[in-house]
Amino acid sequence: MIEIDRVTKIFTGRGAPFKALDDVSVTIRENEFFTLLGPSGCGKTTLLRVIAGFEAPTKGQVTLEGKDLVALPPHKRPVNTVFQSYALFPHMTVAQNIGFGLEMQDRPKAEVKKTVDEMLDLVRMTEMADRKTSEISGGQQQRVALARALAPRPRVLLLDEPLSALDFKLRKDMQIELKRLQSETGITFIFVTHDQEEALTMSDRIAVMNAGEIRQIGGPRDIYDHPAERFVADFIGDTNFLTVDLEAVEGEGATVRFASGEALQVRAPESGATTGKVTLAIRPEHASLTAPEGAVLRGVLENIVYFGTDTHYHITLDAGDRFVLREQNQPDQTQARSIGDAVGVHVPVSVGQVLRD
């Protein structure tokens, strides 16, 4: 639906030119909740502003259903934005804010009123219709900003870290709310965030960005279970990184050999090495504790940290690496292990992921 084709954006100003987007290509599908995830300065907001029309790409193409967007000024693009600061018009009421886009499209008054009422209802703000935007809370402002951007029924809704100003509980509620709005309206959402949890809970697909490039695109499970490279594995969740010998690659699978001499079936890298030293990523909750005899990894228990829902075991492996393992707690469980115990780590088949270099 939206095609971003080899888009590069270089900011020139005082000082050295800055490459905010470096040859980015991605296709966003109809009716998709698509998330751009990355640390600050990775270019995710710039990409959003290029789609909205506030920045012109230095190179590359942006098309919506085959039509070129780059040539159109922002007010002619069928795309609306929810700004990080909400950017509600302070001299208008809640209802006037929501109706602004429709009014600018010169829709008939009756239609504007009807849609505004529907939108107020959709974001549950009907009682607040005649309030000034300064007289409502942050969460309510957020919902008005959302309603204002949704009211003209854009083909695509762009959301620039819209939840970052809200407190924890409100953010949780809004995550569910956003997902509901997306499925009820059927509009394509492009959501920018630096919060990995937000990305995992709401998205159909996620593009992980770093330093102006998209490092990996995939569903939340793909990205979490099978990170393609160290940056992605590190940015999303906790990961153990181990250096291993890659012995063979067969399709999606691969065989690696640990320093302990034990071999294990894991997932092959997306591209790159077929043999030699590689990095293997294993999520802490994907491994479990076992007896040292016959385990693929062996070591000594360094520390046990109780977290309520789960317990973290810090292990120093015989090869010298550190390994963290997480186990779900059960009610009234007594701790069977103690610090200093010799333990083994069990890693199920096809769970470890070899990273591309």
Partner: protein, 266 residues
């Protein structure tokens, strides 16, 4: 407990502050007081009376000069404020471009060039046009006043524009507003306090001008300040005090009006 530097505790602070206030306000207070003097002197108090206000009010030359001053100031206010809004938009909404600092200096030229130089230059320039066209009306004064009022109108408008959240205008654009509608519906409503401040400043500055007016005016085109200057050269009576006090009152009222207007909009 250690306290930070407090200027109010420095020796001499109170003395200096008080002397400043005395120098600033005592002459004005005396001027106002003597405008109510019953006698002919501006130095000896002979009792309270409204006679100088009555005499000023009845003076046809004063009436004439007042009307002319207000007409010029109103035109100058309107023209300079429109120019200032356009200039402020061009210098804050265009992004940095080559020579933007130079443009800024050009707009503020009247603040930097000595007024007497501008006055002489305008005198010579307008004299040439007067000879060529034969037109000697008020337009020259209106034009001159508009020009030197621009930077005064420009400053508060620019400050307001710079303080505005750019994302509001982007949001309007994003919601299908054409550039003109963005200005009409979002920029302008937010800009009003700045425009009012600029306009009132321009009005007061124009009302008050002596130097340029004195040089540019044709015969019989006295404004209130140049009329007063002419009077003082002859006989000084408390009538001048009365006119000054009236001008002072107008300025104070305008400043207060602006203050409350801008507060109620927040």
């Amino acid at each position: 407990m250690a306290k930070g530097f407090d200027i109010r505790r420095q020796t001499g602070f109170t003395t200096i502050a008080l002397s400043c206030f005395v120098v600033l306000y005592l002459p004005i207070i005396l001027l106002v007081v003597y405008s109510f003097n019953a006698g002919d002197s501006i130095a000896f108090w002979e009792g309270f009376s409204w006679r100088w206000y009555q005499s000023a009010w009845a003076n046809e030359q004063v009436q004439d000069a007042t009307i002319r001053s207000v007409v010029i100031a109103t035109w100058a206010m309107v023209i300079s404020t429109i120019c200032a809004v356009l200039a402020a938009l061009a210098t804050t909404r265009q992004g940095k471009y080559r020579g933007s600092g130079f443009v800024f200096a050009l707009i503020n030229q009247p603040l930097m060039v000595p007024e007497i130089v501008t006055a002489v230059a305008l005198l010579i320039f307008f004299a040439m046009i007067k000879v060529a066209t034969g037109y000697t009306g008020l337009f020259y004064l209106i034009l001159a006043h508009s020009a030197f009022c621009i930077p005064f109108a420009y400053m508060p408008i620019r400050a307001r524009l710079q303080g505005m959240d750019l994302s509001l205008e982007q949001a309007a654009m994003d919601l299908y507003a054409s550039p003109w509608r963005v200005f009409r519906r979002v920029t302008l409503p937010q800009l009003w306090p700045g425009i009012l401040a600029g306009a009132m400043l321009a009005f007061v500055i124009s009302l008050d001008d002596v130097v340029i007016t004195e040089f540019v005016k044709s015969a019989g085109q006295d404004t209130l300040p140049t009329y007063m200057l002419g009077q003082i050269r002859r006989v000084v009576t408390p009538e001048v005090n009365a006119i000054s006090t009236a001008l002072l009152a107008i300025s104070v009222v305008m400043v207060l009006a602006f203050f409350f207007l801008s507060r109620s909009r927040k």
